[in-house]
């Protein structure tokens, strides 16, 4: 099924007798069983105003096309869209709808915000076949409830996105990366915290155990030179600070864990707890991003990471393995989520 309009999409949903699996490029998220509903027919850039930092496009629009269009005007999707095909063993071309549905956000998220923070408006068709819009195309919008945030990251469970309005940002003139080597995980997180707590606008903070701890600075040339120098001063207490090439694309795509056997987990947690949690879980390999707020872990098959981690401030999701599926939530939160699910998809079309 490949609808070319919202009306067609609505018809498909209303007539669905069995669960549908919404597919953009099929490059993200946990695989589900069901009849595939492709979004490629809902593509196309509808509006792009560089002077207003605004872009509106159909949800089926390939992200690569959007990024090329923006780059030509010296702009970009600042939240840094990850390419997880290598990590998850997928093929296909990522679409805007998929990125928003997964709230897919890379290293720069720690500084500028996630995908959901750049979504200005959405159009979607819910499980009842209703065509709904929320938000608009302006940055400041508090008219009624914010269903834009609700739909972002909803993983296709509440409706099919058909159009998204985004805030874009300028591409910087240049960038620099500071590197510390040989830091233990706890020291690395402390160093990243010191950097992120400085006024020098760090836009990437990652730690690859055994390789190094990396801090990124972006902006105008003079500004980057100045800030890199100041930041090196801030970090001097942690060890020798070098300037080097940043592994930011690899961190963004979690390339270090691609093509390796084992269960794949993703933790979102309070940075100062990250090293302790990692010490408890006994992973085969880990990657720290977002200053320690995001940890990717490769585990031996069948290991219950949550049982080993115990209680911590945050949550862990298994993306591949015995425990694959949504992370458990507190009962009251789960009840509300279930209620919303019921409202937007009473027949379980997106189950």
């Amino acid at each position: 099924m490949r609808p070319e309009s919202e009306a067609e999409l609505s018809g498909i949903i209303r007539g669905a007798e069995a669960p549908l699996v919404v597919q953009g490029g099929g490059t993200r998220g946990v695989a589900r069983a069901g009849a595939v509903l492709e979004t490629g027919g809902l593509a196309g850039v509808r509006l792009y105003e560089p002077g207003a930092l605004t872009l509106v496009a159909g949800a089926g629009t390939p992200v690569a096309g959007i990024e090329a269009l923006l780059a030509a005007e010296g702009q970009r999707l600042a939240f840094e869209v990850p390419d997880l095909r290598g990590l998850l063993g997928r093929e296909g071309a990522s679409t805007l709808g998929g990125v928003v549905a997964e709230n897919a956000s890379g290293p720069r998220r720690v500084a500028v915000g996630a995908c959901r923070d750049f979504c200005l408006g959405v159009r979607f068709v819910d499980g009842r076949g209703e065509i709904i819009r929320n938000g608009g195309r302006v940055m400041k919008n508090v008219t009624g409830y914010d269903l834009v945030k609700l739909l972002a990251g909803s993983r296709g469970r509440l409706g099919v996105l058909t159009e998204v309005a985004l805030k874009v940002l300028p591409q910087p003139e240049t960038e620099a990366t500071l590197v510390l080597r040989g830091l233990g995980d706890a020291q690395a997180v402390a160093a990243m915290s010191a950097a992120l707590g400085s006024p020098y606008e760090v836009t990437g903070a990652a730690h690859l155990p055994g390789e190094g701890t990396f801090l990124r600075i972006e902006g105008f040339e003079g500004s980057v030179r100045y800030r890199a120098g100041q930041l090196a001063g801030v970090l001097a207490g942690f060890g020798v600070v070098e300037q080097g090439v940043g592994p930011w694309q690899a961190v963004r795509d979690v390339a270090m864990l691609a093509g390796r056997a084992g269960d794949l987990w993703r933790l979102s947690l309070r940075p100062s707890q990250a090293a302790d949690v990692v010490a408890r879980i006994g992973a085969e390999a880990v990657v720290y991003d977002w200053g320690g707020g995001l940890v990717w872990a490769l585990m031996a098959p069948g290991v219950d990471l949550r049982a080993r981690a115990g209680a911590f401030a945050g949550h862990a999701t298994c993306l591949r393995g015995a425990f694959a599926g949504a992370a458990p939530e507190p009962a009251e939160v789960a009840a509300l989520a279930q209620g919303l699910q019921q409202q937007f998809d009473p027949r379980g079309v997106f189950a």
Binding site: E49, G51, A52, R109, G113, A114, R116, D117, E130, I131, R133, N134, G136, R137, V138, M139, K140, N141, V142, T143, G144, Y145, D146, L147, K149, A152, G153, S154, L169, P170, E173, S193, L196, G197, P199, F220, G222, S223, Y226, R227, Q230, S268, L269, R270, P271, S272, A313, G314, T317, A326, E329, P330, E332, V333, A334, L336, A337, L340, Q343, F344
Partner: protein, 477 residues
């Protein structure tokens, strides 16, 4: 202003309801004396007033939960109230409601500079949040102009913005977690000091829900390191079109100023008469502020002034130090006071695509002439948030109604131009009936279905946000 008819049955049970509330709260936390209730009869939309049945002032989440459980049991509507600074009537009571004020809940519960967050009771004022982390060199970014008085609870309810939002975002972009008490008294912890939701983004949904989904008693907020410094440049133009084009060029040059303020001729004239800041006599004024080290500021201001010169400005003043900066901001910061000295005024906050500014200003000028009421315009040029200030005389019979009608037409114009009804103040009661201008029936029904999940009995702030006829079935059912 249309409000639901107070429920006679509730009013008959007032003594019992007050007694039940008094049993779970300290004596001074229940206000039922007629004189004292007047203090809660309105918020900053002071044209509309109605004393509530009773006011409660709980001190913590447990007390809020106990109060809501009683009100749920009694079927009594509850109007949450932060500091009562809403410009949209968000805290306007009905005669049969309980106003639940969180202003006594102001404690700082936890601060972490390593993890860059602060956890506070939601009654704490916005400025006092920054105040708590200032000495360590941090601040809380969303800074509405009422920040000295407004409460975090209200900021979360309205998804408040401020002058810094182009660079730092609004409340929803700086909110990490809340403790939310539902209408039935259950306590929900949503989010926390981590960066994304495990499942659905309920936090994003609650922020901006105008006190209709639950009462926020605690909030986890992102704190940021303070920039090294900031300085503005003032640019005067002979037309708003040119000013708009200049803003567009600044953005396209890859600059991200921390603030871009626009004022039109009438606003400039009024501010100059009031504050004597030395503003040029011109059609349009921009104040652009940038942040960073001294060198970074000079570099950015250099780029901005180069761009400005290409547009033939009638005035161009770069601040060289804090004193000059203060003088540049003086007029803009006294804009509302300046208006208030001339007249009563109504402040709107419709948002438009920044590129639509010249057309919208032209149309506002036409509407202003049609209605015979003057309008001065302040505009956050970076994010499109307009603040048309409609000047009127409340003492002239019918003038307030005329002013509201003009306001409604201006907001319709904002929506027509591709914008929205409200960028910062929220819908409250003020823009309820314009919701159908921006949203269709299915769009509104989707939002109502969300409230059905959080508050199935429709007792929390039920008369706000949506047109009364749209919610009648749910409120009275």
């Amino acid at each position: 202003m249309d409000m639901p008819v107070p429920d006679a049955g509730i009013l008959l049970r007032k003594a019992r309801i007050v007694a039940r509330l008094a049993a779970v709260l300290p004596a001074d936390a229940v206000v039922s004396d007629a004189h004292e209730l007047r203090a809660y009869e309105c918020d900053a939309l002071s044209a509309y007033r109605c004393p509530p049945m009773v006011v409660v002032l709980p001190r913590d989440t447990a007390e809020v939960s106990a109060v809501l459980r009683i009100c749920h049991d009694e079927g009594v509507p509850v109007v949450p109230r932060g500091a009562g600074t809403s410009l949209a009537g968000g805290a306007l009571p009905t005669a049969d409601c309980v106003v639940l004020g969180v202003a006594r809940m102001t404690a700082v519960l936890e601060v972490s500079y390593a993890d860059r967050f602060i956890r506070v009771q939601a009654g704490r004022t916005n400025l006092a949040v920054s105040g708590a982390v200032e000495e360590a060199g941090f601040f809380y970014a969303p800074d509405p102009s009422s920040q000295l008085a407004c409460a975090i609870a209200g900021n979360v309810a309205m998804n408040s913005g401020g002058a810094h939002c182009l660079k730092y975002g609004v409340t929803t972009n700086n909110l990490l977690g809340v403790t939310l008490v539902l209408m039935d008294g259950s306590v929900v912890e949503i989010g926390g000091p981590w960066m994304d939701a495990a499942g659905l983004d309920l936090l994003g949904l609650v922020c901006g829900s105008e006190g209709q989904l639950g009462v926020v008693t605690e909030a986890v907020l992102r704190i940021l390191p303070k920039p090294e410094g900031a300085l503005p440049v003032l640019i005067g133009f002979n037309s708003s079109e040119v000013a708009g084009a200049c803003v567009s060029d600044i953005i396209k040059a890859g600059l991200l100023p921390v603030a871009i303020e626009f004022m039109d001729g009438p606003c400039i004239a009024a501010c100059e008469a009031f504050a004597r800041a030395g503003y040029p006599d011109c059609e349009a004024l921009l104040i652009v502020e940038v942040e960073g080290s001294g060198d970074e500021i000079r570099h950015q201001l250099g780029l901005i002034t180069d761009i400005a010169r290409r547009h033939d400005p009638v005035a161009l003043r770069e601040a060289a130090d804090a004193d000059q900066a203060k003088r540049i901001w003086l007029g803009r910061k006294s804009a509302f006071g300046a208006m208030g000295q001339i007249n009563d005024y109504m402040c709107l906050d419709g948002t438009i695509p920044v590129t639509a500014l010249p057309m919208v200003l032209r149309r506002i000028g036409e509407l202003s002439r049609d209605y015979g009421l003057d309008v001065a315009n302040v505009f956050h040029a970076g994010d499109g948030n307009m603040h048309p200030l409609i000047l009127y005389n409340a003492n002239i019979p019918g003038e307030q109604e005329k002013c509201e009608a003009l306001g409604a037409d201006i907001l319709r114009l904002c929506v027509e131009a591709g914008g929205c009804l409200t960028g910062e103040h929220g819908v409250g009661i003020e823009k309820r009936d314009l919701m159908t201008v921006q949203y269709g029936p299915a769009d509104l029904e989707a939002q109502l279905r969300v409230k059905d999940v959080f508050d199935p009995r429709w007792l929390l702030n039920p008369a706000k946000v949506f047109p009364l006829q749209v919610t009648a079935g749910r409120r009275l059912g």
